[in-house]
């Protein structure tokens, strides 16, 4: 019993550090990818090809002065970034990286992730309100509306996957997927995959749905008043959220840890490649697309994505009842 | 339409209002009285043969004591469909420094007139929102007048004193300046005493 608990704690520590390292280098990856898309080099100064840049950035952010607005609501202001990061990190617990390798392989893994991503929205909303600044407040309001709307679309988009796999457990979904005719659900669930990709961008507040921050209108939106360490927590939360969303996409639609052939000693490689492909997709979209307007985002969510996802659910139901059975 | 014909037409419509007209470098300038300037502008704007629909520029000129009437408000008008321009120069005396606003004809005259009011001190009657535009609300004097010194006024602008007071107040957040600011001073500064500077 005690040894089990200790082992779990060790596992948590290992996964946490690996994820944090990935987050650090996800920022590096982003700057390099976007840099090369924009005919420039990205970070080049710190270390060879700027490889130490994320570490330098981290040190800078964590040792910067923690500015606290005088009129802010203190407890909420402190709690908001922590809620953001905790919600994102907790989701990691249920993600199976390869067969049998998840901190906690619970039966309602997908629902748990949805629950946690809805909690992440709280961090943004409360940060916007607690800063007691108008830009932050507008950002927080936008965030609350956007997160509610897109959570529905995202939840519905993976209902099709749940129906095909017949389970909410993420490992089971991967296993069921591997036995399906195409090997991945992205092909039969193409509608659901599309809705998921769009909702994934919106849930993590990335361009073209970065309304809550939206630097050209609202300066930095909900995190306008945050600096240093607390800003870094938001930043980490956003990137961990990206990794979580990419992992969910990988598990639900791209076949998780399975690949065309087995890689000995390093089974996580397929999972990582797929996750990094989805993260690259985030960056690619960011470098290409302009930003939506707030009302257009809501229209897209409610009038396009939710009906599409509902249609996908109905279609999957019909197929499952009459065709695949 | 020839420029002189326009002047002729204007003279017929407003006898006694036109004082002088000067053609210089191919441009026609008409010096007029200010009293019926709005009607004159409306005439130029609406007449189908003139159609001055574009107000290119509106500004004030301070002639100091060189002329009998100190100020002039200059309207540079242009007709986009007919491609001719004319300049109206309305004389505004110093002791009654006001003229009718032409914002009802050209919405864009709004900011031109605000600028002229701000820098030259000419009041436009009937302007919807005549405030200072380039200078702060609390500025004293009108800098483009000839009697305004180039290097600026002797007296410091009151807003600058306020800024200095704020800077003093924020000094307590300075790394080295924490000890220099007492609570009593702080409360005075917070109460918004403009111009309060710690000696």
């Amino acid at each position: 019993m005690v040894i089990e608990i200790l082992l779990t704690i060790l596992l948590i520590v290992v996964v946490f550090s690996v994820i944090m390292l990935h987050v650090a280098y996800a920022t590096y990856f982003e700057r390099k990818v976007i840099g090369h898309m924009q005919v420039r080099m990205g970070p080049m100064r710190v270390g060879p090809h700027g490889l130490l840049q994320p570490i330098a950035d981290g040190i800078k952010l964590f040792f910067k002065e923690d500015v606290f607005p005088e009129t802010a609501d203190k407890p909420t202001f402190y709690a908001a970034p922590i809620i953001c990061l905790v919600a994102a990190l907790t989701s990691i617990a249920v993600i199976p990286f390869w067969e049998g390798m998840a901190i906690s392989d619970i039966n309602i893994g997908l629902l748990f992730i949805l629950a946690m991503s809805s909690l992440a929205g709280w961090g943004v909303v409360l940060a916007g309100w607690a800063s007691n600044s108008k830009y932050a407040f507008l950002g927080g309001l936008r965030a609350s509306a956007q997160i509610i709307s897109y959570e529905i679309a995202m939840g519905l988009s993976i209902v099709g996957v749940m129906m095909m796999a017949g389970s909410l457990n993420m490992s089971e979904i991967v296993k069921a997927q591997a036995q399906s005719p195409f090997g991945i659900y992205a092909i039969p669930q193409v509608l659901g995959f599309f809705v998921f990709l769009v909702a994934m961008l919106a849930e993590t507040n990335r361009t073209p749905f970065d309304m809550p921050e939206c630097e050209s209108e609202l300066v930095a939106g909900y995190c306008t008043e945050y600096a240093g360490f607390r800003f870094a927590l938001f930043f980490l939360g956003e990137y961990v959220g990206m990794i979580v969303m990419a992992s969910v996409g990988t598990i639900c639609f791209l076949g998780g840890w399975t690949g065309p052939f087995e890689v000995p000693f390093f089974p996580i490689i397929w999972f990582m490649l797929k996750v990094y492909f989805l993260i690259f997709f985030f960056y690619w979209v960011r470098a290409t697309l302009p930003r939506y307007r707030y009302d257009q985002i809501m229209a897209l969510g409610w009038k396009v994505l939710i009906p599409l996802a509902l249609g996908n659910v109905i279609l999957t139901g019909i197929m499952k009842t009459f065709v695949w059975h | 339409m020839e420029l002189l014909e326009i002047v002729e037409k204007l003279r017929e419509a407003f006898p006694g209002e036109i004082l002088e007209w000067i053609e210089h470098r191919g441009q026609m300038g008409v010096i007029v009285r200010r009293d019926r300037i709005l009607e004159m502008c409306r005439f130029l704007h609406d007449d189908s043969e003139i159609q001055m629909n574009h107000l290119m520029d509106l500004c004030g000129v301070d002639y100091g004591d060189r002329k009998d009437v100190r100020f002039e408000v200059v309207y540079n008008l242009y007709s986009i469909p007919l491609r001719h321009m004319i300049r109206l120069r309305a004389q505004v005396p110093e002791d009654d420094c006001r003229i009718d606003s032409v914002t009802s004809l050209w919405t864009g005259a709004d900011w031109h007139e605000r600028e002229t009011y701000d820098l030259m001190g000419i009041v436009f009657e009937g302007h919807p929102d005549l405030r200072r535009v380039l200078l702060p609300e609390t500025w004293e004097g009108h800098p483009l007048r000839k009697d305004y010194p180039v290097q600026g006024p002797e007296k410091e602008w009151s807003g600058y004193e306020e800024v200095k007071a704020v800077a003093r107040r924020l000094k307590k957040y300075d790394f080295y300046g924490a000890a220099e600011w007492t609570d009593e001073e702080e409360s005075r500064a917070r109460a918004g005493e403009a111009g309060y500077v710690k000696e």
Partner: protein, 190 residues
């Protein structure tokens, strides 16, 4: 000596009572909503202890993720600058106290009369075996199909009705021209 489940149950129960009390008592409405959020999480914990993990997740997704955010939205939008002081319905404290105590007594009496009913189909072991989500699904979509659908339709009616009530001219104005017309005080044509 308490067992671990007992300890957790007592913790959750006390925390729920405490947080609910605090939520009513704090002055700042946003803090109040935050406390309710924490309370919902503790309730989800109670569900988890009952092996109802599906309900726990839904509790967080629906109540914490959607309903409470809407509450928060309303709290943000309604500008509560000063405490709203209501006039009391009844002038005397005594009458109020008597009524309150009466209500409490009724509640206690009702609670006292609870008895354990006969065991149903779903014993703890049965639920463990086929997982809670599946058990819930089977129950809901076989025995209680009709009530479930009726409840769904009622909710749909409520949503549509809410939209019909809330939809005013302002929400119809999607273009600049329409918004400008509204600002001038004109009515929008169909």
């Amino acid at each position: 000596m308490l067992t671990l489940p007992q300890f957790f149950f007592i913790y959750f129960a006390l925390a729920i009572i405490f947080l609910a009390g605090m939520a009513v008592n704090v002055r700042n409405p946003v803090h109040s909503v935050l406390l309710v959020l924490a309370m919902f999480f503790h309730m989800a914990g109670v569900y988890l202890m009952l092996n109802a993990e599906f309900l726990a997740a839904v509790q967080v997704i629906v109540y914490a993720g959607a309903v409470l955010v809407l509450y928060l939205f309303v709290v943000f939008l309604v500008n509560i600058k000063e405490e709203i002081r209501l006039k009391r319905f009844i002038g005397s404290y005594t009458t109020g106290r008597v009524i309150t105590i009466g209500m409490l007594a009724t509640l206690l009496a009702a609670a006292w009369s609870f008895k354990l009913g006969p065991a149903g189909t779903w014993s703890i072991e049965a639920v463990r075996e086929i997982t809670h989500t599946r058990a819930l699904g089977i129950e809901m979509f076989s025995h209680y199909m009709l009530p479930f659908e009726i409840a769904g339709v009622i909710l749909l009616v409520a949503v549509v009705g809410g939209m019909a009530l809330a939809k005013k001219d302002r929400n119809r104005a999607t273009t600049t021209e329409e918004r400008r017309a509204l600002m001038r005080g004109e009515e929008l044509g169909e």
